[in-house]
Amino acid sequence: MSQHSSTITGPSAPPRGGGDMATFTADAIAVAVDGQLLLEDISFRLEPGQLLAITGPSGCGKTMLLRSLAGLIDPVAGQLRLNGEAPQQLGWPAYRRRVLLVHQQPVLTPGTIRDNLERPFRYRAAASPWNEAAATRFLERLHIEAERLEQRADSLSVGQQQRVCLVRALLLQPDVLLLDEPTSALDETARDAVEALIREVALERSTAAVIVTHDAAQAERWCDVQLALQPTAGGNGQ
């Protein structure tokens, strides 16, 4: 059985931004893959607007942890709460819209960038209407010209697709963003733009984020707190 322990470092940052946003807590979460325990006793409390970095060696279960925080898989133990409410109380689709996972590999559907950005607003759990002005503002902040809204999504580079996926998530105004290596396919300029935008959204909208990164310098620079997953036995996973 392979397990990983966790340590949290960094100042216990006070909530940033305005008031009534939700606190996200993970209490003693354990994650298993194919019956093998990969992570256990993962606990943290994320205040509105706070950025938490999850670091750790490759294969230690960072992605699986994000998947369980997003409710795509069931943790084998522990409890998630958003503002004191369990996901089942909120309803899973509504929970996922508010605690929104952005995969490392960009996933876009065939069609234009606009089609992709508008798509989640068709779901019943969508809480706000489609906002084109916000879409173009976010795209431009991430160095994608607004005129490209009508361009086919599959004509973009992987780095551009990764940024479009991030814009799609931001437009839904989640309480918590779960970002899996969000700058892995980006050059330095684009990476800085993403970091700045997420920080700005954290300040202005109190959107918190859990950010998986293998880059210790980025975690240090970008986030308020860090959760380091340490392998304790020769496990593998993800």
Binding site: R96, H103, L172
Partner: protein, 269 residues
């Protein structure tokens, strides 16, 4: 001509032997061109004769007995065989798929067949096997192809295309919202053969049932009317079948927490 007006010309065993000679022509071509198909052709021909004679024998018994219970038993056996065939052709499967195919074929097959025999043809009594068995056979034969294509595509989209579905779920889609696109595409795939055959029916080839009726001496217009009913019946059964198997599969492969359980899908060896 005179014979046709009085119905079908009876075929003797000598006629059948001459027909077998036609297969020998195919065998000779295979030998001449060294295709190596003679053995398979011989087995296929033998199977055709044995299987059809067996069916003829069974049908003769069933028609003679004329029992509702026996008929229902036979329909059930046909449906079970069709459901195994439907799932067996799919390259991916999951536990319980055959039962879901059985339920689907049972519901759609019976609904369309008995709508035709009861409301359209108006047979008396309702279970007359001469009508029910061939009609259900046609429905099952076509909808099992549709169901199998549909299921194959759906399972591919939910396993190989899992990320796409999970992307929808992470943005707040319910399981049905996330399954909608794969499901619609799966139904479309399953319907293609039926729609294609409806598009070219009568132009490229005459359907088997219609040809049979015409050879039997029926008025071509009457045969055509029957064929139209049959085509519509097959279209309805196939579309309902593709949709129902998709809904049942999605209900099983997504749980109440709106998670996709793609690990339940097995790739067939």
């Amino acid at each position: 001509m005179t014979d046709l007006e009085h119905g079908a010309i009876e075929l003797s065993w000598i006629d059948m032997t001459i027909a077998a000679g036609l297969v020998l022509v195919a065998g000779a071509v295979s030998i001449a061109l060294r295709l190596g198909l003679e053995r398979r052709l011989a087995i296929a021909s033998l199977r055709t004769v044995v299987q059809l004679l067996l069916v003829g024998f069974i049908l003769r018994q069933v028609f003679a007995i004329d029992s509702a219970w026996l008929l229902m038993g036979l329909l059930l056996a046909m449906t079970i065989a069709a459901s195994f065939a439907a799932v067996g052709r799919s390259s991916r499967t999951f536990s319980g798929a055959t039962f879901q195919a059985f339920l689907t074929l049972l519901l759609t097959g019976m609904l369309t067949t008995f709508t035709v025999t009861g409301a359209i043809v108006g047979i008396e009594p309702w279970y007359r096997p001469q009508y029910v068995i061939p009609l259900l056979g046609m429905v099952l034969g076509n909808s099992l192809t549709g169901i199998s294509l549909s299921l194959d595509h759906l399972l591919e989209r939910l396993s190989a295309g899992r990320q796409q579905v999970e992307m929808e779920l992470t943005h707040g889609a319910t399981r049905w919202e996330a399954a909608r696109a794969p499901l619609a595409e799966a139904v479309r795939r399953g319907m293609i053969p039926v729609i294609n055959s409806m598009m070219v029916v009568g132009i490229v080839a005459l359907p088997g049932m219609m040809t049979g009726q015409i050879l039997e001496g029926a008025d071509p217009m009457k045969a055509v009317m029957y064929q139209i009913v049959v085509m519509f019946m097959i279209a309805a059964a196939t579309s309902l079948g593709c949709m129902l198997i998709g809904l049942l599969a999605c209900r099983y492969l997504f749980n109440s927490r709106h998670q996709l359980r793609s690990e339940l899908i097995r790739q067939r060896a």
